[in-house]
Amino acid sequence: MGFGFKIKYTKYIGFIEKLRNNMPEKKKKLSIIVFSGDFDKLTAVFTLATGAAAVDYEVNLFFTYWGFNAIKRKKGHAFTGKGLLAGIFNFLMGGFNNLPLSRMNFGGISPKLMTGMMKRRNVATLSQLLEAAKELRVNFYACEMSMAILGIKLEELITPVREVIGVAKFLKLSEGGETLFI
């Protein structure tokens, strides 16, 4: 009986310790589903992500569909991905260096003009924000389904992308925090 009691007691102490250890460490959390591949919307994504990480939030970015244009290793129009169609599609979509503005893109001139304005006004550019996100250890995840459609492998994505995940894992990661769809 004494032995049984000891086991129960130890379990109980373990539980209390766990609670005590977990409580103060529980971080605030921001998770963003990065759907858009637009220059301005991605600027919003990375502004929120870096701002939140800077005030100690855990930040999870889940890249899907057009959002992949921000994380492909090839930054211009390049034939990437498995298969002819995927190659053509990726070529047409382009990458980080030719993200369009969601309004008034004017054939890709506007994002360049806007980057110039950001520099002149001392506002962080999209690439500076991306670098800051890496430094602040924002978590980058790639959508498994989008990768299958586009025929892209993990090696074809920039290094901060740490894992290819699906909806179930994303829900688990974002649980208990704020979630945005951009």
Binding site: T47, L48, G51, A53, V55, R121, Q128, L136
Partner: protein, 74 residues
């Protein structure tokens, strides 16, 4: 005199907070940081946010014009 000085008077959101966070992450516990910043959003929110994250805000003082100094201990 603090161990480090960070001038974010020319920065805007979110880099004001990002640069502060990165500077603090490079410092050892107990070291102090002088942050020079301008009036407005950053002055209103940065000291409070630093305190919330467990840093010690030692002082907030006016330097000149619209520039203020916040001293933080890690």
């Amino acid at each position: 005199m603090s161990d480090y000085v960070l001038d974010i008077t020319l920065e805007h959101c979110p880099m004001t907070f990002v640069k502060t966070k990165l500077q603090l992450s490079r410092m050892k516990a107990g070291e102090t940081l002088d942050i020079l910043l301008t009036e407005g959003e950053v002055l209103e929110n940065l000291p409070e946010s630093a305190a919330e994250q467990g840093y010690q805000v030692l002082s907030v003082s006016h330097v000149n014009g619209n520039i203020h100094k916040v001293v933080i201990r890690k």
